[in-house]
């Protein structure tokens, strides 16, 4: 069995993408009794949601990947596929929220068996995000904030679509969530939904997988006018063919990589970029 596949995973994992395939939100363990004052989140996207809903001070346990300053004091309970059930149980939370993953299933089930309410919130698609905002708002007693966020997202999407209509042309774009190897956001992925909202034409074929790997030649053949690169710790253009590099844009907002409230900012940035690209005349090489 080879170990070098670990390197592939590390790079791919920068994108923190979740694929759909779960049956929707589910609850494990007993229902929450009383108000939720102690919350454990098992993914930075969920932490972000909690913070935006105004419940950041209730978060007592986060993953080791959480870097939001609001939760700097919270206990680190593990990672995506290795949360420590013992640590979570010791924190005596009123609610644990997590994303569905084969890796954390055992640990999360154990936490539920210990009598702690668990809410499973997938965040693979836009619909998932909206459902999660709604559910979390209800659980935390922050329905108003939740509704406001949902409205914000809806407004952002409308703005993006209007801008797209004004633009007229559908700019051919590709969203790269990984660089070595090249991995794009294909049909059915979260990034692809945002591209569609912003009026870009996703150059990835409709028949492709949600996260297809591209060879540099394939990328050249797809001939996108703009290559959007999701933010990652090691931002490099090294994996891109030379001719493509001038078309690359390094995104600032986390929203394309991390489904959550960042959608608003992400859509705004996308619109900006696409408007700029559409306005630019094609200069001969």
């Amino acid at each position: 069995m080879t170990r070098r596949t670990a390197c592939i995973a590390a790079l791919l994992f920068c994108a923190c993408r979740r694929d759909s395939g779960s049956p929707g939100e589910t609850r494990l363990g007993p229902p929450p009794h009383g108000p939720v004052t102690r919350l454990v989140t098992l993914a930075p996207s969920l932490t972000e949601l909690a913070i935006v809903l105004g419940a950041g001070d209730r978060v007592v346990g986060v993953t080791r990947f959480d870097d939001a300053p609001a939760v700097s004091g919270a206990v680190r309970v593990g990672g995506y596929s290795d949360p420590s059930p013992e640590t979570i149980i010791r924190l005596a939370p009123d609610l644990v929220v997590c994303q569905p993953s084969p890796g954390n299933r055992g640990a999360v089930q154990l936490v539920a068996d210990a009598g702690i309410p668990v809410q499973v919130l997938p965040l693979s698609t836009l619909a998932d995000v909206l459902a999660a905002v709604h559910a979390l708002g209800k659980l935390l007693g922050r329905e108003d904030a939740a509704r406001a966020l949902i409205d914000d997202i809806a407004a952002a999407r409308t703005r993006a679509r209007e801008a797209a209509a004004r633009r007229g042309t559908a700019v051919g774009a590709v969203l790269l969530v990984g660089v070595e190897p090249l991995v794009a956001a294909g049909p059915g992925s979260f990034g692809a939904e945002l591209l569609a909202d912003a009026g870009a034409r996703n150059v990835i074929e409709p028949s492709a997988a949600p996260f297809p790997r591209l060879s540099p030649e394939h990328l050249m053949a797809l001939d996108p006018r703009v290559v959007l690169m999701a933010p990652s710790p090691d931002r490099t253009l090294a994996g891109l063919p030379l001719q493509i590099r001038p078309r690359a844009v390094l995104l600032r907002s986390q929203g394309l990589a991390r489904p959550g409230p960042g959608i608003v900012e992400a859509l705004r940035e996308l619109t900006e970029i696409l408007d700029a690209v559409a306005a630019r005349r094609e200069t001969p090489p």
Partner: protein
């Protein structure tokens, strides 16, 4: 090999195992008040129970790996063999990969995960394939078995790489985690099934340990001693297939344990398989329980629990090299 020597050797190993189990339950990523837990205080009692289940799983998987490692080293007449050398890990990995990539990972069946069950099916299918291909004129030939197993594992590797290249990132992460092997929190059903299978196969191999002694000498010699080499090899292969299939379905591919533990037991108690076989089961159980404890203790420092397979490799590799060197020194004396 007198009964007294056997009981003494196994007695020592049983004590080691008991100590390892006690440590593994008392220590972990969080402090545990054992006295309070035994009184039924929540959540200590719950944590104790789940640790006990997890440690039991580590012991069962460790025993399976240890004993099948010892038996396979005799079967293929190669002290460097490990339980996965005959393509059994490749088969299990193919089954698990298919399950995880298809998104079945989060689903359960009869209290066990679908991933585990498909890994089991994959390992058994691989065993059948390797068994039938490893025969010449209807008889199992060790060199042929090894070759077929190695080639099959290579094939499985490339299949898995191909699947990985199209898998979604989070499934990829689960897949890698599975491939490096980790001990999770088992359901009672899975634990019972695993224990039953491992116990049965281990008992068979212990009973037939004299056959393994004879096989070590070579085919003609075994025959001269009244042992049918073909029947012996087929029995050992079948028992090992069950053990490895059970171990990989419960915990993924945990390397080094099956390779190291028989050598450690040999160092301490000699090469007679009447001690080596049951001894490797006890030693393997202790080894993996401690490796799992190591993984959990690592959490305190790094907020991450490495896969148990990583701990066994980190500990196992230097240990193995040291063993190799000391063996060379011994034979030079």
């Amino acid at each position: 090999m007198t009964a007294l020597r056997l009981v003494r050797a196994l007695g020592v190993l049983a004590v080691v195992l008991a100590a390892a189990l006690a440590l593994a339950v008392a220590l972990g990523s969080e402090p545990l008040d054992v006295a309070a837990a035994l009184r039924g205080v929540h959540p200590d009692a719950f944590i104790l129970a789940s640790r006990a289940a997890r440690t039991a799983l580590a012991a069962i998987v460790g025993a399976a790996l240890g004993i099948s490692g010892a038996a396979l080293q005799a079967l293929v007449e190669n002290p460097l063999a490990d339980p996965f050398v005959l393509g059994l890990s490749g088969g299990a990995a193919i089954g698990a990969t298919a399950a995880i990539a298809a998104g079945l990972g989060a689903m359960g069946l009869f209290g066990g995960s679908l991933v585990g069950l498909l890994a089991l099916a994959g390992a058994l299918a691989a065993a059948l394939l390797v068994f039938s291909l490893g025969r010449v004129h209807g008889r199992l030939v060790p060199e042929r078995l090894l070759l077929v197993g190695v080639v099959f594992n290579a094939f499985a590797s490339s299949f898995i790489l191909a699947v990985q290249s199209v898998a979604a990132p989070d499934r990829l992460q689960s897949l890698l985690s599975w491939m490096l092997g980790s001990i999770g929190y088992p359901s009672p059903a899975a634990l019972a099934a695993g224990a039953g299978a491992v116990l049965a196969a281990a008992a068979l191999l212990t009973w037939r340990a004299p056959w393994l002694n004879a096989l070590c000498l070579g085919e003609t010699e075994a025959h001269s001693l009244g042992v049918n080499p073909d029947r012996a090899r087929a029995t050992v292969f079948a028992a090992c297939a069950v053990l490895v299939a059970a171990a990989t379905s419960l915990a993924g591919v945990i390397g080094f344990a099956g390779l190291i533990v028989p050598h450690l037991v040999r160092l301490a108690f000699g090469s007679d398989h009447r001690v080596l076989v049951p001894g490797s089961a006890l030693g393997g159980a202790a080894f993996l329980a401690l490796a799992d404890l190591g993984a959990r203790l690592f959490f305190r420092a790094a907020h991450t629990e490495p896969p148990t397979g990583m701990i066994t490799a980190l500990v196992g590799a230097p240990l193995f090299l040291w063993l190799l060197v000391s063996r060379t020194r011994r034979s030079e004396r």
